[in-house]
Symmetry: C2
DNA sequence: ACCCAGGCTGTGCATTGTGTCCAGCGAAAA
DNA sequence: TTTTCGCTGGACACAATGCACAGCCTGGGT
């Protein structure tokens, strides 16, 4: 699946101003409404655009502390540990990885003190051997996708 | 900033079906349209809902490989390193952390081989002393927020 | 050289949703 | 008790949506 320059501009535009809708987008991009509609349908069909869900800020919800925990798991306990972590609301994300640990998860907490409670909840489970936590201080580059979209659009200029 | 049960249901609903709009949401929730509109305005004003931007899947864009890199920085080079990393499209996210390394970043690449190129680009910069990379194999818990929203709504039932 | 398929355009239509008001009402705070 | 606040239900003009269609251009295949 590749995207062309128009797809790239469309995604970028929607990212900056999600409220504009198809008609206004077509005006901004200088193409017909049907084209924007078709492109959007195609991007969604191909899974490039997964959806337009609300982007919720954990900090505004009262969870301003973010941390990453590297977990080491005992052999064979993977599935159980996953289920356990999935049941903890403060676990925002969980990956299994190569390298140092076996899993990496993103946590949030109400405060540094509260983080202790969250970590206890996370690691207080059979099968987790060791956990290393890194507390996030700053977030110089918040989760983004636009630069990648633009590069992808550049890599495949032909439609 | 706290959210009540109605806010929680609204966010959850919008997360599951982002396309429904205010009117349909009010029907589903069994409240007046004005109420939904007011809640939405309030949530956006307080920063709980940052927006409704498109959720783009890097894999569908041709970047199916995700990795996390822990970087160690030489004293005083922080700002330069941040600027450098921000200029790399494959760097989706960057945090400064406590603990083992000084920074943690999320990378994507076109393949495991391509990851080498990305890593070279990332670490080929003055000020980066050491880098440890963990390649993501599975993603048992994709980035989520709903469980946290529900807990936050439960924590503040009054209103 | 030819034809065809696919994408874009510009247009139309009926339906639906939006933004924005307002008055009434109940409950909680002062 | 009185004020304040949020929710309700309704109204309105306007804008956007989903869907369909014919014409046009272009690149690829025959």
């Amino acid at each position: 699946m590749g995207i062309d320059a128009l797809d790239g501009r469309l995604i970028t535009l929607l990212d900056r101003e999600p409220r504009i809708g198809v008609l206004e987008a077509s005006r901004r991009l200088g193409v017909a409404r049907g084209t924007v509609q078709a492109r959007l349908d195609r991007l969604r069909a191909h899974g490039v655009i997964r959806g337009f869900g609300p982007q919720v800020d954990p900090a505004a919800l009262g969870y301003p502390v973010t941390a990453f925990a590297t977990l080491e798991i005992t052999q064979g306990q993977g599935p159980d540990v996953r289920a356990h972590l999935a049941s903890v609301p403060e676990v925002l994300e969980l990956h299994t990885t190569t390298g140092e640990g076996d899993m990496l998860c993103r946590l949030v907490a109400r405060s540094n003190a509260d983080l202790q409670r969250v970590i206890d909840k996370v690691v207080g489970f059979e099968g987790i051997v060791r956990a290393a936590t890194a507390i996030v201080m700053e977030n110089p580059v918040p989760l983004r996708i636009i630069p990648l979209v633009e590069q992808a659009a550049r890599d495949a200029p032909p439609s």
